[in-house]
């Protein structure tokens, strides 16, 4: 789609007035007459057999309406669905173990719920939690990935006979041959750990059963309202039309809110139906550290075979992936790591094998980046080490290995997380690199500034890395566009919104096609009554997939407008233009009609609607891309390290990215800026610290550090636009781009700043503490 009056413009976000004045509805704003409040008893133990749970004292406490344990759920108790089955890769092993609503025989991670208390207030509900007597027999906890796979290890799920959750091997070419021919082989072990999504709004659920309407309404902080509706209807024995799920405004999703079905999502509707009263549960911050999924560690043993001139001959990678206590999200995260490692490079031979491991820790599902950063880190670090060993400039080694702009579509010959071949649709990697080099001032920094500052005793360094973000995957989304008699346009789509600016970008697409003012387009997202088909907001796919559906629906309405207005105005359809909320003859100014009036005429009270046509100016359309598309970019940053305290200051941060055709540059820039903040958190601040018994040691923002505005620089941005041929808008996703290569860029920059110290960075997250330890260790090595 071409830029126009609104499409491609910096339109101010239409939803912000509501958000900034407190008029936006969030789940916790829902107040219903007679509403009860729920709290969950969560296990203190990470791994234990449940001997008994006695809730009798809690039940008899004043103000307590009900207490449910697994035993009370009867036939309703069942493990959740496997959300993403494993892709059809030959030889793949996958052991399915999905989460349960309340632990029944065993507890498999600290924080796993044991009982649900429903009370007149949350205060009373939490008091009653203390009355429940739980007798747990502690079992040794599984926390270390390598130890978990050893013979005799304690088992998270006994039925599998080991803690292996999955094993996947993908390869192309023949790595052994490449290795034999290599001038050098760079081999390292890498640790990459992620953290909590730390959305500003925790999860929340309000369930209401209307016995007269026989309808269940659920307000839920989910990224996937329609699948939640479908799943709940099946679980509760209701028709899908009897369940309405509303995902209102949500204060950040970042991945964990796409997880289905959280225990609370299953328990509250059931309790509300049984009790005949609405029930609310709002997650508190400490619960969020256990009860909401997170992303965590991988350990990679990787090697890169290179020629003398720095050409990649092949890569081999063996890695372990921590999936936590259950694996409902299948292999999305490790397959993203496996695929994204290849990045924008020509890798003729690739051999990658991973083992997913069950541990006694909370469940791992995608968090912004969804395993991509693990892969990017390994590849970019290997290239850095190769460049150093071969005496090639780090920018130059990347330049020499890029897939060239004329090589698209480019087939990596392995399978991506959407079960489709990993084929890049479009891109221009050398151009992005050159632009980043220029923006950050690479040459002058390396030749003049850095040596000058080093002479002054300052430790400054630069990092510059590339990445690919596979985005905009299927299966499909839909949209319905309606021109109302008032002239305003209603747009409904099934995806939920968590702050991405959907109310604006979707409106821009429709306004452009229909020639109306952008603020005349009222967008509805995330309400299953408004739109009943769709999957959800994930994998940076909202603008690509739902946006394309909005476009398709608007085009269909436009066809209807032309078909109706042509005969009515006596003007050939080809001579009509849509502009200013009117359809108009392009050369006869008095021949025109407002879209509102036309909508009225399309829905007459007398006469007849011509057979074969439909009343009104309304259309529904769907879009499903053939496969995901490849957004890409280059991140560069300059840091200064205090060699004494190991504190790191990020001086500048440059992002050159390509998300194809841009719908709204401001929205794109905000996504990148926010992603970079997430990435910086991952690189230097955030780490979930578990002890060897599976206890999380920093389940509060006092100890789990998030970067603040003081730590995150304003990102300097430039856009490259290589339109995707896989959708009519030409757009690619951008939701995760900022967070993906940050760790790799950070490690390179800090290492550069500490050049000569002997420190080599093969792990993320770092922290001043960890960096200090590494500096001390390097000093000790140097002295020895």
């Amino acid at each position: 789609m071409k830029p126009g009056r609104y499409f491609g413009e910096r339109v101010l976000r239409l939803e912000d007035a509501r958000l900034l004045t407190g008029r936006a509805l969030f789940v916790d704003d829902v107040q219903l007459p007679g509403m009860l409040h729920a709290a969950l008893l969560r296990s203190d133990e990470a791994h234990a057999r449940i001997r008994s749970i006695d809730a009798s004292a809690a039940r008899s406490r004043r103000g307590i309406v009900a207490v449910y344990t697994a035993a009370d759920l009867g036939a309703y108790w069942r493990p959740g669905p496997l959300l993403v089955p494993p892709p059809p890769i030959s030889g793949l092993v996958f052991n399915t173990a999905t989460q349960v609503p309340l632990a029944r025989d065993k507890v498999r991670h600290a924080g796993e719920p044991l009982a649900l208390v429903v009370a007149e207030s949350r205060y009373l509900a939490e008091d009653a939690l203390e009355d429940i007597v739980v007798d747990l027999e502690p079992l040794p906890a599984v926390t270390d990935l390598e130890a978990a796979l050893l013979e005799g290890a304690s088992l998270v799920h006994e039925q599998f006979g080991s803690n292996l959750a999955a094993h996947v091997h993908q390869h192309k070419g023949d790595y052994a041959v490449a290795r034999a021919a290599a001038h050098a082989v760079i081999a390292r072990r890498f640790h990459y750990d992620r953290g909590a999504a730390a959305a500003i709004e925790n999860r929340g659920v309000v369930a209401q059963w209307d016995a007269r309407a026989e309808e269940l309404t659920l307000w839920d902080t989910t990224q996937a309202p329609i699948p939640i509706r479908n799943g709940l209807a099946a679980l509760l024995g209701l028709r899908e039309s009897q369940v309405r799920v509303i995902a209102p405004f949500i204060g950040g999703g970042f991945g964990p809110k796409i997880m289905m079905y959280y225990p609370e999502e299953v328990l509250l509707p059931w309790a509300a139906m049984r009790l005949g009263r609405p029930v609310k549960w709002i997650e508190d911050r400490r619960e969020n550290f256990y009860a909401t999924t997170q992303e965590r560690g991988q350990v990679h043993d990787a090697e890169l075979a290179v020629s003398k001139d720095g050409k990649i001959l092949g890569v081999r990678d063996r890695f372990l992936h921590d999936t936590g206590a259950y694996d409902p999200y299948g292999l999305t995260v490790p397959i993203n790591s496996q695929c994204t490692l290849l990045g924008p490079y020509v890798v003729p031979n690739y051999d990658s094998e991973f083992t997913a491991v069950f541990t006694n820790k909370p469940i791992v599902t995608p968090v912004r980046g969804a395993g991509r950063q693990h892969g990017v880190f390994v590849m970019e670090r290997l290239l850095d080490f190769a460049a150093r060993e071969l005496g090639i400039d780090r920018v130059e080694i990347r330049r020499r290995n890029y897939i060239q702009p004329d090589a698209f579509p480019y087939d990596h010959e392995i399978l991506f997380q959407d079960f489709r071949p990993l084929v890049y649709d479009s891109g221009n990697y050398p151009a992005a690199l050159e632009q980043a080099v220029e923006l950050i001032g690479y040459d002058s920094f390396v030749r003049q500034e850095q040596p000058r500052l080093r002479r002054e005793g300052k430790h400054v360094g630069l990092g510059i890395v590339s990445y690919i973000e596979g985005t905009g995957i299927g299966p499909y989304e839909g949209a319905r566009v309606t021109i109302e008699p008032s002239g305003s346009v209603r747009l409904a789509t099934g995806v939920g919104t968590q702050g991405q600016g959907h109310f604006t970008t979707f409106a821009q697409i429709v306004a452009e096609v229909l020639g109306v003012e952008v603020d005349q387009v009222q967008v509805s997202t995330g309400d299953t009554r408004e739109f009943t088909w769709g999957t959800g907001t994930f994998a940076s796919r909202g603008a690509v997939v739902a946006g394309s559906a909005c476009h398709a629906a608007a085009l269909k309405v436009r066809e209807k407008v032309l078909a109706l207005a042509g005969p009515l105005l006596g003007v050939a359809a080809g001579e009509l233009v849509l502009h200013g909320g009117r359809v108009q003859s392009s050369n006869l100014p008095d021949k025109g009609i407002s879209l509102g009036e036309l909508a009225r005429k399309a829905n007459p009270l007398r006469g007849a609607v011509t057979p074969g046509t439909e009343p009104g100016l309304e259309a529904t359309a769907y879009f499903g891309p053939d496969r995901g598309n490849a957004a890409s970019g280059v991140h560069a940053m300059i840091v200064e390290v205090d060699a004494e305290t190991a504190a790191v200051t990020i001086k500048r941060y440059v992002v050159v990215h390509d998300c194809g055709t841009i719908i709204n540059p401001m929205v794109v820039e905000a996504q990148v800026q926010g992603g970079v903040a997430h990435g910086i958190g991952n690189a230097f601040f955030e780490q979930l610290s578990f002890d060897e018994n599976g206890q999380l040691r920093n389940a509060s923002f006092m100890d789990y550090l998030l970067p603040t505005a003081l730590d995150v620089p304003t990102v300097e941005m430039a856009h490259i636009e290589t339109p995707s041929p896989l959708n009519p808008l030409g757009t690619k996703g951008v939701g995760e781009a900022g967070a993906i290569p940050t760790g790799a860029a950070f490690a390179q920059a800090v290492e550069d700043a500490l050049a000569g110290s002997g420190v080599e960075l093969t792990e993320i997250p770092l922290s001043p503490n960890r960096l200090f330890e590494l500096l001390e260790a390097a000093k000790a090595r140097g002295a020895a």
Binding site: A110, F289, N698, D703
Partner: protein, 153 residues
Amino acid sequence: MIVEGTYPLPGTPVVIWDLLMDPEVLAKAMPGTKLLVRAAADRYEGVMRIGIGPITAAEFELVIALTDVLPPYSYAMQIDGKGRAGFTRGTAKVELVPEGAGSVMHYSADLQVGGKIAAVGQRLLDSVSKLLTRQGLEALNRELNHRLGGAPA
């Protein structure tokens, strides 16, 4: 969590031993103890109330089982504490070595901590446990001095 150290005490191991086996004295040596009874020869039961950072006045039901008792020189303990703020369990070892006219107590504990105290009290656990240990040993020392001072020379 590992807690270990040494502490000089007046009196011979025999004198100290008797004190250590007296629930009343032991309660003083364990700050925050609200109740401690000797349920059996080798078993103490009680209630402790401690505060760790944001967790104030957390109550724990405490069971201490003595093992490997070698009077008057050493014993080991199996510690099991449970409460709404979490749990602590593990083993501890106490050893009395005569030195001059007095003794030196060698103590070590390997404790597992879970639940809320582990989640939000972690960064204070070390300092709180050190503080409690020191307070306890000082209390024991005072008691010992008191008894020794009160006893005929």
